[in-house]
Amino acid sequence: MGAKKFPELDPIIEKYRGKKGILIPVLHEVQNRVGYLPDDIQKHISRELKVPLSKITGVISFYSFFTTEPQGDHTLGICLGTACYVKGAEDLVDEVKDQLDISEGETSADGTFTLTVTRCVGTCSLAPVLMVDNKYYGNLTPADISGILEKYQDSSQEGN
């Protein structure tokens, strides 16, 4: 029984092979490419880069940016930094949870959205802030949520 191959990851592996301290950059690039870091991919990286699997799993579980679960098409990141908290970001979280019927870290049934709460995204002057993928939406109230979600629901469907 041969190990599962991931030819699409070869360019990433080759770029970093033999260099030191590259595990985190490799994981970033692989996650960008695949979307998440499941067991078989971790094993593949371990074999190719000669890094113990335990170390790879240890690093992935330490850093909140890495995930071993598949994510939705879009990631909703609600900032719970101090300024956003003071400005009522928790109400935004509740609103998203209500609308999509998911909890933090979960993906909506249609696979469109994953809900995360993030550390301060550094746009405190716009608090409270919601990030959809890399785009910022600021000065929000719970009433703004449905409009933003609709935008992405439409585009996801077109994409399919």
Binding site: F65, T82, G122, L126
Partner: protein
Amino acid sequence: MDNREVLICSGTGCLSSGAEEIEARFREELKNKNLVDDISVKKVVKKTGCVGPCSLGPIAIVKPEKTFYGKLDIEDVPVIVKEHLQEGKIVQELLIEEDGKKVEEYTDLNFIKGQKQIALKNIGEIDPSSIEDYLAQDGYQALEKVLTEMTGEQVIQEIKDSGLRGRGGAGYPTGLKWEFTANAESDEKYVICNADEGDPGAFMDRSIIEGDPHKVIESMTITGYAVGAERGYVYVRAEYPLAIENLGSALETARQEGYLGENILESDFSFDIEIRVGAGAFVCGEETALIKSIEGERGMPNPKPPYPAAKGLWGQPTVINNVETLSCVPEIINLGSSWFAGIGTESSKGSKVFAVAGDVRGTGLIEVPMGITIREVIFDVAGGIPDNKEFKAVQIGGPSGGTIPAQYLDLEIDYESLDEAGAIMGSGGLVVMDEDNCMVDVARFFLDFTQDESCGKCPPCRIGTKRMLEILERITSGEGEAGDIELLEELGEKIIETSLCGLGQTAPNPVLSTIRFFRDEYEAHINDKTCPAGRCTSLAEPYVIDPELCIGCTQCVDVCPVDAISGEKKEVHVIAEDICISCGACEEVCPVDAIYQRSNKEEGDKNNG
């Protein structure tokens, strides 16, 4: 066009309020009117980094007049192009009004004129993607001076003489850090720029890297020359995609133009820089944890000593400076250490960038001289508290810092004074809170953060912060017990004393400082089971309707989210106290102010009587 330029603030704040659309419209308008061709439009309409007053975005500044147009709509663009760019007349009706007067020049805005910009100097003035813009602001002059006129020791002496101290946390003298690294015996040394800006409420490092990336490169290269390193790393948060992108392209340009790489400016000195992207772990802002993370490990701190200056990255001498600290270096080299040391207070020289956010009118980044008072920052520069609310406290220094109450508003800000007041300079996050904030809840918020971010290596931090959080959660949910405050104090002191790294050693600060200044709020939660600010909803006091004032309009019935209010039209209404969740929606809509909370009314009566 008279050589006019339009600078569009493209900091993250303005981008999310529509700066890209404004920029596109300017370009389109100029091209449609045949005022510029495709090539020169890039020189006329420029994208800059964050100008600072994020609450006024989107922003366009027209040069040479430095006219400030804020809160722009897309329809304002053709007006500015026609009247200002073509006819040379400032568009009065689009100016921002302050204190009853229209402000023309950007430097006359309240938000800008109280500032002393050193680290932020170029930001908002230059296009971060243009090395020509940076060179026009004396960019890379300090590097040239250092390479041609100064020895490494002289550079270190200059930094020591300037009195520059670290802007990212503890305030350690920068020159000393450099000296220790320079004196350490090794052929291999490293420079690390700490851009792992994890403190919630602080975003100056993001803004500097996004808006003036070449300055970070120049400063790191000077540091490398001073300490004898040939390699540098910028460790930047993954949450900052634009900063990573702008720095990456600036590194490319710097290499092409000979400011980075082999034999910089034809000298013997070679230096190069690599970006390392964090992965969402707050503890990696601590220098030994950051080093572990660059090495590809779990970011857990090590005991100090040995300090990184002796044994850092890959076990070699390493100097780690924060972004803002480094950004002061070229100015110090260009203008001299005595110029820098002439600004600020006895112990704290130069200026400091603060990220002002929360319940305050002017949110954004400001750089003010050390020694300015908290009152001047919040009320003069940032415009005070909106919605006629009272100032209650300001949280300085993030999860490692403390909450400073109104009686300290006239405190002059420097490292030592903030320390004495139970806060820290930290990275300079400054979150303003009005009367509606519950200080116990704020303390709980920070403990929740640090407890979650504790790496788990040392028990005082791992277990201690967990126990503190549990007590705070009990208090805010109405189950506090006598002795809880004392227990928090004891735990806090022990955690500070015994934790391994800066995270644990400062984690109890928000709790201890709120107990120090707002002990009565803790006592109200524990003894009276009430939240004076009405924030802790499981504790909040129900609302009641004054039967003499109620006119039976039914508006409150309509807004009540839990259907706690009953009563027929034109008859007196009643709130069921056991159902009421104290959200206050009814009080807001009541046209005759008949709805109130008992404790608030008694307080009001006392004040009136």
